[in-house]
Every structure is written in C-alpha cells, then in structure tokens.
C-alpha cells in the first residue's frame, strides 16, 4: 500500500510525539541525575567535613538522617547538597568483614560477639549499605542520600529520583505536547465554528460549543455533518418544535455522531 502524503503526515503526527514521550524522558532524567551528581562532587571537593560527627550505622543512621531532613524542611538551605555526617574511618591492621545489608551486618556482629566462642580480636564488621535504598520508592519525591568523599550528603529539597524522575519528566513532556497540540487544534476548530455562526443571519442557531465538539472529533470530515445539522436545525426542527426542543435534538445528533466522525478520521489517516 503506497503511503500518501496525508498518511505520512498522520503517522508523523502520532509517531514523533510518541517517540519524544517514550525516549526523551529517559535521556533527560539521566542528564538530570548526572547534573545532580556533578553538583555533589563539586560540593564534596570544596567542603570541610572534618568537623562533622561520625555517622552511626543501621537504624541510628536512619534517625540521624530523618532529623537532618526535618531540619532542612524547616530551614531550607540554598545549596543542593548538605553534608550530614562523615563515615567512620576504617580501622587499620584489621580484618574487615564489609556488609552491604543490615541483616548481614547484624549476623556478622552477632557472630563476633557470641559469648561462648573465643572471638578473634583483629576482626571487625563494617556496614556499607547502599544509601539510595533508604529512600521510599513509593513516594514521588524524597530527599536524596548519597555518599561522597566519605561523607553522607542529603539533598536540600525533596526531589524525584531514578524511575520516579523519568516518570516525572514523561508527565511533563506529555503535558507540553498535549498543550502544543491543543494550541494548534483549538484555534483551528474555533475559527471554523465561529465562521459558521457569523454567516447565520437571524433566528436561533445551534450551540457553538457542540459544533466545536464535532470539529474536534472529525476535523475536516466534520464540515458536511455540521452543515447538514445546522440546515435541519434552522429550516425544520426549530420552526416546527421550538428552540428548546431543537437544541435538545441538536445535542442528541452531535453526541450520536461523534463515534462515526472519529472512525472517518481514523480511516482517512490510516486507510
């Protein structure tokens, strides 16, 4: 089936926004994350972290971060990243068992402090958990928690991260595209229905809004239907049954015609 210009245009009108919505937010959210990371590295390079308290581990760290976040909520700072505490320095000349999860860390700690066995004195358990997992993924906006230059940092405001950031970008891009399309379509449709109303010389005329709906559903295919309905309204229905009944008739006609109009438009676009 050869592709006509109209069909190509229709495919482009649907495909280009779909691609922008599908791929664009992935790139833009990655760029945004990279920018935040860059700002974090900049802050980490210039900050004096020696005076910061040593970070606790496990639930105590949660409590510390929670308190810091509450403080930030009350007095939001200007910079994006705020240093909260510094990681405890790792002991030298010891065997370290590094845990990335709290259960693993607890198990290690229990083994080391079990009273019935002779524990080695040169072994230490260390918890180095992934800070990003501390944020609640069910919430769209959360404080970011990152580790840079042996310091734990918290973002100065609640932001969307990773999957949530991509979703947020996608919603924004969709909104912009919808507004652009509406901005193109609404004046075109309004011009058509206003021009039709201006030609009406006297008497009752059908609802401009309903005529607008017809054009919105069928675009160019709506013109003969709008003309037919207007002709019947003016010549027959309104003189015979009165304005109120004629308006009701017109409304019924418009709503029952919308499905047919949409199907015409889709067939014209996609054959």
């Amino acid at each position: 089936m050869p592709l006509s210009r109209r069909r190509l245009l229709a495919v482009a009108v649907l495909l280009v926004p779909a691609m922008i919505v599908g791929v664009g937010p992935r790139w833009s959210s990655q760029w945004e994350e990279a920018r935040r990371r860059h700002l974090l590295n900049q802050s980490a390079a210039s900050a004096d972290t020696a005076s910061l308290p040593v970070c606790p581990v496990g639930k105590a760290l949660d409590a510390r971060l929670e308190a810091a976040q509450n403080e930030i909520r009350q007095h939001p700072p200007r910079d994006l990243w705020i240093p909260i505490c510094r990681r405890a320095e790792l002991p030298a000349n010891r065997i370290l068992i590094v845990s990335t999860g709290r259960d693993e860390y607890q198990l290690c700690d229990e083994q080391l402090h079990y009273p019935l066995i002779v524990r080695p004195t040169n072994v230490t358990c260390v918890l180095r958990e992934e800070l990003q997992s501390l944020a609640d993924p069910r919430r769209l906006h959360t404080f970011g928690r990152f580790d840079a230059a042996n310091t734990i940092w918290v973002s100065s405001s609640e932001l969307a991260w990773q999957g949530n950031l991509e979703r947020e970008h996608r919603a924004l891009v969709s909104l912009v595209i919808a507004l652009l399309m509406a901005g193109w379509m609404v004046p075109w449709v309004a011009r058509r229905s206003l021009a039709a109303a201006a030609l009406q010389t006297s008497g009752e005329s059908p609802s401009r809004f309903l005529e607008y709906l017809l054009y919105l559903a069928g675009l160019a295919a709506a013109a003969p239907i709008a003309g037919d309905l207007r002709e019947e309204f003016v010549d027959e229905i309104e003189p015979a049954f009165g304005a109120k009944e004629a308006r009701r008739w017109y409304r019924r006609q418009v709503f029952t015609s919308l499905k047919g109009l949409v199907s015409i438009q889709l067939r014209r676009w996609f054959g």
Binding site: I225, G227, R230, S263
Partner: protein, 113 residues
C-alpha cells in the same frame, strides 16, 4: 464475491436510499429517507461513516455542492451510487433472498411453506 464485499444491513439501507434519491442524495435527505422507511433513529455521523467506507470501496462517489447561509457557509456533499455499489447491493439481496427462500418472514420464526 469475497467475504469482505458483503454489505451490512445499514450499508444496504444507505445504498438503497441513494438509489431512491438520485441526484438529491446528500446527508440530510439520506438520513431522512432511512429514518422514514425504517422508523429507526439514525445519526448523521453513522450515515457519513458508512458513506465514507462505501466510497473507499468504490461503491459510492461524491461531489461538492452549494453552500448556503442556513448551512453556516458549509457546502453540501452529494453522493451517488456507482456500478460496484449496485452490484454489491444486488448480490446482498440475492443472498438474503436465498436464505429466506421457503420461509415466511413473519412473527419472528418462519413457518415452512
């Protein structure tokens, strides 16, 4: 005749209306003709959607007519049944007749005559 060429009930109504109306067949008159004869409320959208489909199959052709102030300056679109439409209509009628042959189409259930 391939399966896709059989006409639906409403398509047959529209084509018969075009045959009856001749040169005066446009949206308003076609819809009115169908409503008057079938006593069935019909929307302008469904008439035009059917005409558009039939036109894409080459069974119907159209021409743009005059615009009037009553129509809000919009031109009428006149429709005409083409040879392919007449042929399809005839075949659909024959198929229906063949199915009904030997039955009385009354009271919902045909009694074999």
């Amino acid at each position: 005749m391939p399966k896709g060429d059989y006409l639906g009930e409403f398509e047959q109504f529209v084509l018969v209306a075009l045959l009856r109306l001749g040169d005066d067949a446009y949206g308003v008159t076609i819809r009115r003709e169908i409503e008057r004869r079938t006593k069935r409320p019909t929307s302008a959208g469904s008439v035009y959607a059917t005409l558009d489909r039939l036109q894409s199959h080459g069974m119907v052709s159209s021409r743009v007519g005059e615009a009037t102030p009553q129509r809000g300056g919009k031109a009428k679109t006149y429709f005409r049944i083409e040879a392919a439409g007449k042929r399809a209509l005839k075949q659909s009628r024959q198929a229906a007749n063949a199915m009904w042959n030997g039955f009385e189409p009354t009271a919902g259930i045909g009694a074999k005559s």
